[in-house]
Symmetry: C2
Subunit: 444 residues, 2 copies
């Protein structure tokens, strides 16, 4: 019997735990779900005979090591900064480790030790990062294998609301960490275009979006990610002239979000005075010079919008001009906005989310220029069984199975860009409806 420890029983753990439990009986696995809340862990196990819950305060070293020592594989769903403790234990106790988080520099430094112990520490094994790496590498390697010369790599992903559940003027609801949505894009986006580095500072990031056609779905807005160049080497695309990674939103989102950025509402660096006393209306007034006209009229003028423009309607719908108290003390603009959006952008019970991922690759083969698009669209069932949680959790579970089946020869600290990982994971994901559809057109 193989023992699998899943640390963290939060909302994003469901799909991974369910997958592992579904495989447990036939494969002879035993799943331990550990959390600071044993009730939550118990709920995830839900009486399954091949599972048990464990109470774990992850900061208690002895408890942690005791639990890990009795496993074969550890899946850490902890917040990213806590993985390193677990990873250090795994080195010492010789256990494999799988996470869906970005691999930190500190984690990469454990690479030699993990390799020496013949262990696989796989990070970025979720959706984005995760499925994006796997599907991009598969496509890139297929084109390279047939002799294609790649000249452009663009990769898009968005966690969206499905059209049938889209009932607000922003065409957006939270399907992921709201704080990350509010702070998204801060810094300077960097990418590569026409063989040259390009930069877009945050202050104009949401204004300088472009449109992306997703076959069968229509057009979406895309704003550049900060990290387009991060995977150049690992994807083997260092030499090519166009590299972009970007985030997708429904039409109309970016212009309105740009208005929030321009006003100053996404800033998390200083507290608003008297945020516990003033109204949203007064808050908006605080960003405008004194003048004639209502706050809403002056805001429209400041933004260069008509009073009834689509952007102004979105701001209005959020209640930014309402004489209602904010009721938060010592809150930053970003926090006030996040709380306001939480009220407005929460999934209703029956709402379906939707993930779109699309890679666009231009290449030359036999003297002809081609563009291939590889697109994946997946919808959730409801506000609990979301496409987001499924697509983050399934790759983790599938990869655990690959390790147990002895199909992984790679050791050390890695992200899923190797064929022996992406091929079987993507293949099994198809059984769960995760399908990339390719369309190719000639560019000449």
């Amino acid at each position: 019997m193989k023992n699998i420890l899943i640390i963290g029983a939060g909302r994003s753990s469901t799909a991974c735990i369910n997958y592992c439990l579904s495989q447990a009986k036939k494969n002879g696995w035993f799943i331990t779900v550990a959390d600071a809340s044993p009730e939550l862990a118990e709920k995830r196990i839900n009486g399954h005979p091949n599972g048990r819950s464990a109470w774990l305060d992850v900061n208690k070293k002895n408890d942690r090591k005791d639990l890990i020592s009795r496993q074969d594989i550890v899946v850490s769903l902890l917040p990213a900064h806590l993985h390193l403790m677990v990873a250090t234990d795994c080195i010492q106790l010789k256990k494999h480790l799988v996470t869906a988080s970005y691999v930190s520099h500190e984690m990469y430094r454990l690479g030699d030790e993990a390799r020496d112990a013949s262990l696989i520490f796989m990070g970025e094994m979720g959706l984005d990062p995760g499925i994006d790496h796997m599907s991009a590498m598969k496509l890139l390697n297929e084109i390279r294998a047939k002799g294609g010369k790649i000249s452009s790599f663009k990769s898009y992903a968005g966690g969206l609301i499905a059209p049938e559940s889209d009932d607000n003027p922003w065409h957006y609801k939270f399907t992921w960490n709201p704080r990350n949505v509010v702070l998204a894009g801060q810094g300077t986006a960097q990418f590569y275009e026409g063989g040259k580095y390009k930069y877009i500072p945050y202050s104009r990031l949401f204004k300088e979006y472009h449109l992306v056609d997703v076959p069968g779905m229509g057009e979406y807005e895309a704003y550049a990610n900060r990290d387009s160049l991060l995977y150049r080497e690992i994807y083997g695309v260092e030499g090519i002239p166009n590299i972009l990674r970007a985030t997708l939103r429904h039409r109309g989102f970016c212009d309105a979000w740009h208005a929030l950025v321009k006003i100053g509402l996404t800033d998390g660096s200083y507290p608003i005075h008297d945020a516990d006393k003033i109204t949203y209306h007064e808050w908006m007034n605080a960003y405008l010079p004194e003048g004639n006209g209502s706050v809403k009229e002056r805001m429209a003028a400041f933004l260069g919008e008509e009073i009834n423009s689509s952007v102004m309607k979105k701001l209005d719908w959020l209640g930014l001009f309402r004489k209602k108290k904010i009721n938060l003390s010592q809150a930053t603009p970003a926090l006030i906005l996040e709380r306001l959006l939480l009220d407005k952008w929460t999934l209703k019970t029956k709402d379906k989310d939707m993930i779109i991922m699309q890679h666009e690759i231009e290449y030359e083969l036999d003297g002809k220029r081609k563009l291939v698009k590889s697109s994946m669209v997946m919808k959730g069932n409801d506000s609990i069984d979301t496409a987001m949680s499924r697509l983050v959790g399934l790759p983790l579970g599938i990869f655990v199975k690959l390790i147990i089946e002895g199909r992984i020869t790679t050791t050390g600290v890695n992200i899923p860009v190797m064929e022996e990982v992406y091929n079987p994971v993507l293949e099994e994901l198809e059984e769960y409806g995760v399908e990339f559809k390719e369309t190719e057109i000639d560019l000449d």
Copy 2:
């Protein structure tokens, strides 16, 4: 004989050291100038019989304490973060301390100990902060003394180039730390207007400047400081509806600086790729989407400027569109800009700088609303004897004299807002040509 230690013999120390030396003989003072470079310290003393230089590595605790133990008063001209070490020694060895730097939280925490030891630790005793506090407090207290009810306090200051030395299209040269000029305003400016808090994010700070008339000098552009509200309590103006502190620039500066901000050139948070290989022309191209037209034409379109507008001429004059190599490796945009500006904005030997400071206070007295402006304009003699260095150094020296003369009863950690400080300091500053001229008009 009184012993005065001045730590730091850098460029900004000249006026303070010269003042102290000039007072030394008649008052029986002995001045020790300590620096990591004994030659530089020696040069400042310049053979004066009442002075000597000392070699000091300020991080060497024993050397530092040995030197301080033999003094009566210490003036620290060190970088701000090094004052605290000196302050701790001064507590232990029972010496007074004077600096021109902002008083840090850590420094304020020494207040009780300094008071218990009957010591005065005076910070912010330069120009801005320094003369701004003293002149503002004098004016505010005079109005309050005659029964005036203050409704608006605005305070402006600028380190500028004198009109007779203004020979570039920006109407600006460096008379102070270039790095601080490049990074000025980052964050969010906060002030108080019409009884309400107001916020201006950095991305629109230089666009939302206003004009300030300085009697006899004409109009200047003013952009809000980040810290307008910092001194509300200490100035005793907490209750009044309008409080603003702002920075002055010659006409035309702010629109052009806003263009640099908008492009993204003042960002110090990430390095530009291949900054050692590319030209300024390529650097500008990196902020623009690919398209038709020259980089300069596309930049004009992006900024919403005519190709020959005043703003575009200023950018052109900096050489931002020249095919000349940047030649800096791993440099941030802010650093590249700073180095470029250093070439362009350096004072020539005979150039005169100019300091303008102006307070504008509205108040009501006997049912009548009045506006009083108190303005100070001072020019330097040349690029060494600048108004800036004089106005930073003289208050320090004068305050040392006040301590020695026993005219200071205040103890603890302070900034110069008390009458026993500002009256004699401002009075003696007048002998050096530092004169605030008042003009008053009726507003009704």
